[in-house]
Symmetry: C2
Subunit: 357 residues, 2 copies
């Protein structure tokens, strides 16, 4: 069993902990947290060994009536691998601690690319993290993960001449009550390109991609407006078939009656998914269109959860425990990745049609 | 003097009426309205002759204590030209009334393209409306107006190989209290292309343009994420210079400290503009970037007001009273179009720079 420590127990950390606990080949060594808030209470209730992320904070947990298993360093010592989900910039500071105990680690996309020996998206470059001299990987951000998962099959099947993407980003997560905007549409950043294109190049160095960022008053998911100029001219139906074979892409079928991120999340909740998470890119099937070699589509990305399967796969890649296909299949099966199967019958009935006016 | 009747006195109609009243060569024959609401009260207070847009509604106005000058047909009779700003689809039904009195008319972009003899954007095709056999023109929608104004100089200076635009649209106007979405990001329409590309082709039939529509919880302005593949490779500075020469494009300078549509509207209000209107495309100067022959930029479009100068110019074109340059200059001067002059000194100091990371 792989002993996994999760350093940081916020939006990503608590999801990674649950995912680790669900793996047949992993055991949760514990989770480390800075503050004894509602999330800490939940960790205790789930029976997760809880460590103080910051030294000398033990008193605050005791005052809140929460028993600690120790400090973060104790957790690192007993872990085979650490998933670092601390806030952006803190992960980099933590690397020294992991190195001290020869403990491999995954970091998150908020860190600079050089925090790890490689950046990581399972579908795109699993083997890079499995290389012998790689002990630290950066699982890229939700948006970069979503773009890389989409570009991987397009590159293989058709070749990508150029990608141009407008990322319509949620202003903050549902719990981030101090984030904006309210009733505004911001170019963000106003300069072009946004950091997302260069970040995709940490996964696919040779892809020519320009990205533009926009921020809007929504919290549920991001929306990508995607144009990819391919090196071939497939039909829209061909592209839909290609994408529907990818376990981490969910082609939202027209028949589902889902018109946006609100209904997507409601659907995920109705299926009983934990926290209504959507680990897959949600690609709007009707939007998949071709115009010569130009492919267009919309995809929605759940910023809180799409990197969770990637962190699990990164653990196996780092420790060289499984090959890419086996790891991804295990992760998908244990979490329940793959919403499309619920609609497979319906989807196959979709007749490719001319775009609406 | 050109006697102008305005049929419909809502978001567009009340602005057109004020703009007509400000022209040296026009007189407001009157405005026609269906209901005696707050807008009707304002029209009366301004001294605009008020007509009942729907026959047999006079009683409702009398009950509200509002005196009428007659019914819409009376207004059409005494007008040299009518600006029809009635809701989408009603304009088409009104055309028969205008034809009965040989009264030329402008319609709005919500009507089908064939409601007029030509579609119209002053900068792009003024002379089409000045042709002898043209009595009815459709001033295109706010978004199509904004795209056409931008494409016109780019076509002339560089040639346009292909344009790809994602329109991040406001869900409704500030007064449209029953519109959504709330906290959502919707592909709208989910199919590609949206109607905007084909609508641009009513102005520029030969432009290759693909558009995608998104709807978000905001009311103030639309935002266009624009990519134009040019037939040349100008620098970003060249493009900024080109666009800054256009009176109806406002290059929002970095120095202004304006980060989105909220501050844009606040700035317009601070300058004393009526209703805080922004008749110009607001092009984010920092966003203007080139990558080989690919041009990228963001522009914000005020859906309530950017077509107002166009309706004024359409009147002169229809009646063959002025040439394009004279009409546009008169309209711009009387309304006060041209925010850039307020920043001209500042703008010239902008040094083209590398895009942020």
């Amino acid at each position: 069993m792989i002993e996994v420590g999760v350093n940081g127990y916020g939006t990503i950390g608590k999801r990674v902990a649950d995912a680790v606990a669900a793996q047949p080949d992993m055991e949760l060594a514990g989770v480390a947290k800075t503050r004894p808030n509602y999330e800490a209470e939940t960790a205790v209730r789930k029976g997760y060994p809880l460590y103080a992320a910051v030294p000398d904070r033990a008193d605050r947990f005791h005052e809140a009536g929460i028993d600690l298993a120790g400090e973060a360093e104790d957790m690192v010592m007993k872990s085979d691998v650490v998933v670092d989900t601390t806030p952006s910039g803190i992960g980099e500071q933590n690397r020294e601690l992991y190195e001290r105990y020869d403990t491999p680690a995954t970091f998150q996309g908020g860190e600079d690319a050089d925090v790890g020996d490689t950046s990581f998206v399972a579908r795109a470059n699993y083997d890079a993290a499995a290389a012998e001299d790689v002990d630290y990987v950066r699982v890229v951000s939700c948006n970069t993960t979503g773009l890389s998962r989409l570009l991987a099959p397009l590159r293989e099947a058709y070749g990508v001449e150029k990608a141009r993407v407008t990322l319509v980003r949620r202003g903050g997560d549902p719990g981030q009550t101090s984030r904006g905007p309210i009733n505004d549409i911001l170019p963000d950043p106003v300069s072009v390109p946004s950091h997302h294109g260069p970040d995709v190049n940490t996964i696919f160095p040779d892809v020519d991609i320009d990205t533009l960022g926009v921020k809007v008053p929504a919290t549920l998911m991001h929306l990508h407006s995607v144009n990819v100029t391919l090196e071939a001219e497939p039909s829209a139906a061909d592209v839909r078939d290609l994408l529907s074979d990818e376990s981490r892409l969910f082609l939202v079928p027209e028949e589902a009656g889902i018109d946006g991120t609100g209904k997507l999340k409601e659907f995920a909740q109705d299926t009983g998914r934990p926290r209504g998470d959507l680990w897959e890119n949600c690609v709007w099937e009707e939007s998949v269109s071709t115009e010569g070699s130009d492919l267009y589509l919309f995809q929605s990305i759940h910023q809180e959860s799409d990197v969770i399967p990637e962190n699990i796969d990164a653990i196996r890649a780092l420790l060289d425990r499984e090959d890419k296909q086996t790891s991804m299949a295990t992760t998908d099966e244990t979490l329940g990745v793959g919403l499309e199967s619920l609609f497979r019958g319906a989807r196959r009935r979709v007749v490719p049609r001319e775009a609406d006016d």
